[in-house]
């Protein structure tokens, strides 16, 4: 007798009922989430809200990759950490919090700095990657790794009152980070080292949107069109969605062999301020 696919636990039906009755979601959508694996790189201001909603929605396997420990200055926006977890590894603090939300999913805390030497191995097991980091070199590394592994990369960024959200390397023709930004910005414009400030709710909006986009991709609800969302918390119309170029045949990372311009250098990933271990406090 043929067996219909079903959820792993009988309790999953009441737990996820509110989303399973949605149009085009259903039992099939829930099963897709249950079977999905997601790597969240960075357990800071973006990673915390993203992890909350991925775990609550029932994504079956979630990796949390970060090498930092919780500090008092994080609590203002990194909502999975709290006064009691100050000093603890961020991945353990975050993993404990989302396991309390959902004990039925597999949570994999990985307390390592992601670098060019380990990125492929760390990210290979996962269907989808969330970039919740806060520095330019790691953004290039994650994009290049997502291209090599053929994984979509849901990338969030936030500073001061502003945020950005983009899905890279998605579908047949979605661009990668290098397609849009072939060269890094001026170091003076990238305040990962100097202190720029951040309003917590701004990282909250972008982080939740990262979880939402990931859920849309995993359940097949995403339309696949490449867009960049800009958020500006103090503007009268705070959101703007931009239509983006397709993948560039000349892109050094994702272009067509023979047409590619330039090459990817290891040196691209060396943090240009403060040494090789960037601070992921996004």
């Amino acid at each position: 007798a043929s067996r219909l696919p079903r959820l792993a636990h009988i309790d999953d039906y009441p737990r996820y009922g509110r989303q399973m009755i949605l149009d085009n979601f259903g039992l099939q959508g829930q099963i897709k989430l249950q079977r999905a694996s997601v790597a969240v790189v960075g357990a800071g201001g973006l990673g915390c809200p993203a992890l909350q909603y991925l775990a609550a929605a029932g994504v079956g396997r979630i990796a949390i990759i970060d090498h930092d420990t919780v500090e008092l200055s994080n609590i203002q926006r990194q909502v999975l950490h709290n006064e009691e977890t100050i000093g603890m590894s961020k991945v353990l603090s975050a993993a404990a919090a989302i396991k309390k939300t959902n004990s039925t999913i597999r949570v994999e805390p990985i307390c390592e700095a992601i670098e060019s030497s380990n990125a492929m191995a760390l990210l290979q097991p996962y269907d989808l990657i969330l970039d919740c980091t806060d520095n330019v070199p790691t953004r290039y590394l994650l994009s290049d790794t997502a291209v090599r592994l053929g994984r979509p990369l849901v990338s969030g960024a936030a500073q001061k009152y502003e945020g950005q959200l983009c899905i890279y390397n998605f579908g047949e023709s979605g661009p990668c980070y290098r397609c849009i930004f072939p060269k890094p910005p001026a170091p003076e414009m990238s305040g990962s080292c100097e202190e720029m400030g951040i309003l917590g709710a701004v990282t909250g909006v972008i982080g939740v949107m990262q979880a939402l986009e990931a859920i849309k991709i995993l359940t097949g609800l995403h339309d696949g069109k490449p867009t960049l969302m800009l958020f500006s918390a103090l503007s009268m119309a705070p959101f703007r969605t931009i239509k983006l170029r397709a993948r560039k045949p000349t892109c050094a990372a994702c272009g067509i062999e023979g047409q590619q311009l330039g090459a990817i250098h290891e040196t691209d990933y060396i943090a240009f301020c403060g040494g090789p271990r960037p601070d992921w406090e996004a």
Binding site: G42, G44, G45, L46, R77, C132, T133, D134, N135, V136, R139, A157, A158, Q159, K160, E162, G163, Q164, I180, F181, P182, K183, P184, P185, A186, E188, M189, S190, G191, S192, M196, I198, T203, L228, L230, S232, S235, R240, T241, I242, K243, L244, R245, W280, E281, A282
Partner: protein, 128 residues
């Protein structure tokens, strides 16, 4: 031509670029629809044969995004031009949007401006 037509444009800076423009995000500009050769950026002179045969053509060249960038650098930029332009083009790490579309889909610098166009310059964010 006896009358000079102008394009009214909305120019916006975000992602930190506003700091280079007097910390003002939104600027409204009025640019002539046609730019005389003399006012164009000319780091590399036009080839002589083109220059000699097409004087009237080049005089009627429409205002494009390349000219806008030149204009912004010359008239509005208050700080550190090397963070906005790189030679004659825009600095790496800055994305130009024309009416909510990536400028690469619109012809990049060669896009001819129309009245009411909205041009946004954003610097990629990376922080938290």
């Amino acid at each position: 031509m006896s009358t000079i037509h102008h394009h009214h444009l909305k120019v916006e800076f975000s992602g930190g670029l506003e700091l280079l423009f007097g910390n003002q995000r939104v600027h409204t500009l009025s640019l002539p629809a046609v730019i005389p050769d003399s006012e164009r950026p000319s780091p590399s002179p036009s080839p002589p044969n083109l220059k000699s045969t097409s004087h009237s053509t080049s005089e009627s060249r429409s205002t494009d995004v390349t000219y806008l960038i030149h204009y912004l650098r010359t008239h509005l930029l208050t700080d550190r031009p090397e963070l906005f332009v790189d030679g004659d083009s825009i600095r790496p790490g800055i994305l130009v949007l024309i009416n909510d579309t990536d400028w690469e889909l619109e012809g990049e610098g060669a896009y001819e401006l129309k009245n009411g166009d909205e041009i946004v310059f954003i610097s990629t964010l990376h922080g938290g």
